[in-house]
Amino acid sequence: MNLEAFLTEVKSRFPGASFEQAGQDWVLRVPAAEWEAVAGYLAGHGPRFDYLSSLTAVDRGDRLELVLHLRALAAGERLTVKTDLNREQPEVASVTGIWKTANWHEREVYDLFGVVFRGHPKLRRILLAEDFEGHPLRKDYVDPRRRKVEGQA
């Protein structure tokens, strides 16, 4: 089955989802509420996306975009999955139960963006020190140690 047909099937199963082709890749957008369910479906059906190559986030200013890069090793397919999170209270279900790799990736996203992953086995900072305050990859983060040049905002 080719990827487009599979994505059409996913869309019929999860009505909130949509997909498009971006360059050589297919991007699947899902609502945050269906994040874990869609991920589980992708891992177990069609080409079987059994390999999580990365999970990260992007601060779009008005929302946080969560991005999954998946690969189906046997079928040789790859897929990008995205969802939008509320910037003020970013929260989403963890996918560590589906791909174990997600564990550290989600901790990193929590560390740098402040996204809370429900159901994560050990959600604490991974790169920065435990007592670090704030989430520095958010666009509104202000480094308290930063020296200002005169006239700079």
Partner: protein
């Protein structure tokens, strides 16, 4: 008398004893194997046979308790700073520190970053600052020679050649 902290009372014989002790210290600077970023690659190159750290008496040790010299070869972030301080505290006196590379000297290309210690001298006292990104092995050898000169003449502040 406390050999480590207080030199002998000045006198002809005692001064010579001091010099012998200093000579033995500078000739067996065992450094801690502690590489934290890209500058460590240069440290490894310096330790290997082409540049050969051994001929200056520098042999790497795996434990801070056996080391006299700490080469801070890379960028120290806020999380690592605590580890660095702990390792330094575990080294036996007398001990020396060389800040290798721009990162350790001042923060280098990462200066001002949210998670960076801008210069390792904010955490531990530094004896020799070695700029470069990264400094070549010859520069590292030169820094070690400067440190050896400093050890031989503790009363002199600068170590200009």
């Amino acid at each position: 008398m406390d050999l480590i902290h207080a030199p002998f009372v000045p006198g002809v014989i005692q001064t010579t004893v001091d010099q012998v002790i200093n000579w033995s210290r500078k000739s067996s600077l065992w450094y801690m194997l502690y590489g934290i970023a890209c500058c460590s690659i240069e440290m490894m190159a310096t330790g290997a046979s082409r540049y050969d750290f051994d001929r200056f008496g520098l042999i790497y040790r795996g434990s801070p308790r056996q080391s006299d010299l700490m080469l801070v070869t890379g960028n120290v972030n806020l999380k690592m700073a605590k580890v660095l301080k702990q390792l330094y505290d575990q080294m036996a006196e007398p001990k020396w520190v060389i800040a290798v590379g721009s990162c350790a000297v001042s923060g280098g290309p990462f200066r001002g970053s949210y998670n960076m210690v801008d210069g390792v001298d904010q955490v531990v006292p530094v004896d020799v600052y070695l700029p470069g990104c990264p400094p070549r092995p010859e520069a590292l050898l030169d820094a070690v020679l400067k440190l050896q000169r400093k050890i031989m003449r503790p009363q002199r502040q600068g170590v200009a050649s």
